[in-house]
Symmetry: C2
Subunit: 189 residues, 2 copies
Amino acid sequence: MKTSLGTDTLVYPTPVWIVGTYGPNGEPNVMTAAWGGVCCSKPPCVAISLRKARRTYAAIEQRKAFTISIPSEAHVKEADYFGMASGAKADKFSVAGLTPVKSELVDAPYVEEFPLVVECRLLHAFDLGVHTQFVGEILDVKADPAVLGEDGSPDVAMLKPMSFAPGTNTYHGVGRPLGKAFSVGRSLM
Amino acid sequence: MKTSLGTDTLVYPTPVWIVGTYGPNGEPNVMTAAWGGVCCSKPPCVAISLRKARRTYAAIEQRKAFTISIPSEAHVKEADYFGMASGAKADKFSVAGLTPVKSELVDAPYVEEFPLVVECRLLHAFDLGVHTQFVGEILDVKADPAVLGEDGSPDVAMLKPMSFAPGTNTYHGVGRPLGKAFSVGRSLM
């Protein structure tokens, strides 16, 4: 017998993504988003949801672009800080000692020290309630060679991305491999 | 210096969610989705993206409802199978030896044996390309008491949700706790 937990956003896992934009005066800014995910394979698109009061919200509307930098576990402190501080009051890159890199593809910066970055052109903005969902077309994914496996894909054992758990509000690493998709379930076919 | 991996949906982590619907004759069906995420806090909404050819696609359009059942690591085989087989050819619940439960809130079934389920009413359908994104309002979250922590929230150490890694196409467990959100980054404020 299951227990009702009510109307809440209790789903697992959610990502820990750092959204990069330029402010009104061209200043690089970042914020942390856990409300997001892949939303289309062709064109390849990723969605992030933001509150209207966020500085990043206005920046995406103005420049029609954003990046997602995926931090490793080692940067959990910086990722958490990026979600708390406001770019209106602090230069978050400077405070965190991290480096903004201007994307050559879109009008937004990414975080040099984070091992994987995604450069997005704004395709859609859907007003859903307290959050607006921005859908970005992925124009490129860039990774540090050190996190690429033998097949050339990012290897989560080296990338060490984090997840966020709603409810407990905790960050977690990625755990042990459980098997290959389109393979471990084949015995049931 | 980062390496370009091109225009691809290489972001981490993505979830492993089992979407439950009723087919045209009322038969319960499930499929696995990794393209999805929370998209709004109020109303609480979750998004999943599906290809038009999917049986689940027509089912959601018809009944304006779906559930998300979150499997634990122990069901990785079943989760993978649900992503490969078609409900047009197989009764996936029977094959997997799992039990469909009719939601009392929406016109869709969930998986009894999976520890956390979310019941959703369709709010929006956004055609993005090869995928259509369905936004569901969360009407209730239900959990097995065994996966709830002392504060009454789901505890990922007991829930053991999985993540999917694009590129390598691998499933992974949730790893070690890295800290509390809105807390570990406070030293930088």
